[in-house]
């Protein structure tokens, strides 16, 4: 096995009843890469991601994440990955600090480490003034940044971000991508879905999913060449229209 490939997926499929949400997708993700996972609404991105992070059993196919098999070693995968879901999933009725403490705690960090992490994280995100405020009272952009940082609290090898910037203003989106780059520089592999094509340009490589299948996969530059267009937006439109 190539140790540089932190995610290896082969013919991975998920069927709900008689509907195939993810149809035999095959791809690899290199260590340290920012991998963009694009697709229209309902293309099957979230479903595919859930199989990779071990909370959804694949119907068939093969996949390893951080060297562990999604079928047999889902719990080992979980030690090595962070996940930020499409839906905001921190506790609105806990404060910023309490959320950090809780997730640090269930990842098994020591009290001391949690304290350190919380301090760094709050400073980095500029949340000093609201550290003891309930998360529910924060603006969406702040929540998303917090949620991203919390998903990195246990220093995972790979982080899965499902539309992390959905509904966020352009400035905050920019800041968010700075956080992503920073994580990437630290060697964390980033697996990210988005509907913003400008964000697709920031990725090292992108795949485009259409109706459960991966229809294109390459660097943004090569994809644009391949489809003879100037922007990722046009690549996407060409593919999605079929």
């Amino acid at each position: 096995m190539n140790t540089n490939k932190v995610i290896q997926v082969k013919e991975l499929t998920k069927v709900f009843g008689d509907f195939t949400a993810v149809n035999a997708i095959t791809f690899d993700v290199e260590k340290g890469e920012i991998f963009g996972f694009l697709g229209a609404n309902g293309a099957g991105k979230t479903t595919a991601m859930k199989m990779l992070i071990g909370i959804s059993n694949p119907t068939s196919g093969k996949a390893t994440v951080a060297g562990f098999d999604v079928f047999t070693n889902a719990e080992d995968i979980k030690k090595n990955i962070g996940y930020m879901s499409q839906k905001f999933a921190l506790y609105d009725d806990l404060t910023v600090k309490e959320n950090i403490t809780f997730f640090g705690g269930i990842y098994g960090l020591s009290r001391k480490r949690i304290k350190e992490k919380a301090a760094i994280l709050i400073k980095e995100l500029g949340l000093e003034n609201v550290a003891n405020k309930l998360v529910g009272s924060l603006p969406l952009g702040w929540k998303q940044k917090l949620s991203f940082s919390v998903s990195l609290i246990h220093d995972p090898k790979i982080v899965f971000l499902d539309e992390p910037t959905g509904g966020v203003d352009p400035i905050t989106r920019r800041q968010f991508w700075e956080l992503i780059y920073k994580a990437s520089h630290q060697g964390i592999t980033v697996f990210v879905t988005t509907h913003y094509m400008d964000e697709a340009e920031y990725c090292d490589r992108v795949s485009i999913m259409v109706n459960g299948k991966i229809e294109a996969l390459d660097t943004p530059k090569k994809l644009k060449e391949q489809f003879k267009v100037d922007t990722m937006n046009d690549v996407f439109l060409k593919l999605a229209r079929g």
Partner: protein
């Protein structure tokens, strides 16, 4: 272990931060106890009483005199034979028939004890239970050495509703105060309903808001999560028992004859059953609404079949078998036994073991059906 503590800490924070929750936990019990125990009174008046006296002695007349003197029994018919008496019962002309055997006086004096037959029309099971108590009380006061034999009234199949009911627990409520009888039972409902609803809703709520998924992507063990989740509700359940017992004692002046530690021991196991059920429900539902409906469904059945309002003995056989699976029934029995009768550890041991078994099965099922991966 440390992981569990983080969950417990978080859970308590959320519970006490939820402004709607605290009143539910601590004010509702008070209101429920006061309203229900006052409304659910079983006082039965104007019981139509009849007797068959085969003895015609001064003792038998004296006993019948006691019934005449009671304010609960009013019509008094002297039936010449059992046959006529049961005919009258069929026609609804009489609710209770006391049968005094021949040589009643002689045997009582000679052998120091004797048996009496009592037939009660149990169309209304609850009323029959109460009548049984009244009859027994009067007879016991008359002579402690008399044993009351409840006779299965022999009638044609069409008079099915007539049968005999005994509610032993009534015997220990000597003042015939129905609050004394109801309060321990209502206490049971309270502990059950609140812990079931809170625990069931709680986990489904995390499903709804998506935090459960966030927890499922962490390497946390199922058992750690479940223990951490359920422990706070276990504590709340015992807290409720404490609030309830305090109210029972201070407001209703209910005697607590048995051992308090024993009640807590039993309750602590009982709550595990309820929490297991709550978790089980939450594993099979996606929204708080669904969970609420299912929890209600079971609670209503459990309550109706608990022996709290209708004596189990007056239920049809199949229903009686179902009640064997009703945890509320056990809890009601134990509370009445310990609170009102002063039963000890050995007396409730069989119920305790059944409950423990139930707890193991329910929690086993709950843990098994809780899936981190779908």
């Amino acid at each position: 272990m440390k992981t569990i503590l983080y969950i417990i800490q978080k859970e308590f924070k959320q519970i006490f931060r939820n402004k709607g929750m605290l009143p539910i936990i601590f004010v509702l019990p008070l209101i429920q106890l006061i309203i229900l125990s006052n409304a659910a009174t079983f006082d039965v008046k104007n019981i139509k009483f009849g007797y068959v006296d085969h003895d015609h002695s001064s003792t038998s007349r004296e006993l019948i005199e006691k019934f005449s003197a009671s304010t609960y029994f009013n019509v008094h018919t002297d039936f010449p034979s059992e046959k006529l008496a049961s005919q009258a019962m069929l026609n609804g002309e009489v609710d209770v028939v006391l049968e005094i055997p021949a040589y009643f006086e002689r045997d009582l004096q000679k052998e120091k004890h004797n048996n009496l037959g009592v037939t009660i029309n149990a169309i209304d099971g609850a009323a029959a239970g109460v009548e049984n108590v009244y009859v027994t009380q009067i007879i016991q006061n008359f002579n402690k050495n008399l044993l009351v034999d409840l006779i299965q009234s022999s009638g044609s199949p069409k008079i099915q509703p007539i049968n005999i009911v005994t509610i032993p627990s009534f015997w220990y409520n000597e003042t015939l105060n129905y609050k004394t009888f109801m309060v321990p039972g209502i206490l049971v409902l309270l502990v059950t309903m609140i812990t079931l609803f809170l625990s069931g809703m709680n986990i489904v709520r995390e499903k709804e808001i998506g935090t459960l998924e966030q927890i499922n992507v962490t390497p946390i063990k199922k058992s750690q999560f479940i223990i951490g989740k359920l422990f706070p509700f276990w504590v709340i359940g015992l807290g409720l028992l404490t609030v309830g017992l305090t109210i029972a004692k201070l407001i209703f002046n209910i005697p607590i004859i048995g051992s308090l530690p024993l009640m807590y021991l039993y309750t602590s196991i009982y709550i595990l059953v309820i929490l297991g059920i709550g978790l089980f429900i939450s594993n099979f539902t996606d929204t708080q609404q669904q969970a609420m409906f299912i929890a209600w469904f079971f609670t209503v059945i459990f309550i109706l079949m608990s022996g709290l309002f209708t004596p189990i003995e007056s239920m049809p056989k199949w229903a009686q078998i179902i009640t064997e699976f009703n945890p509320i029934k056990y809890f009601v029995q134990v509370m009445r036994m310990v609170m009102l009768k002063g039963s000890g550890f050995m007396d409730i041991l069989p119920l305790l073991l059944k409950t423990l078994f139930y707890a193991i099965v329910m929690n086993g099922l709950a843990i098994w059906s809780y899936k981190k991966t779908n």
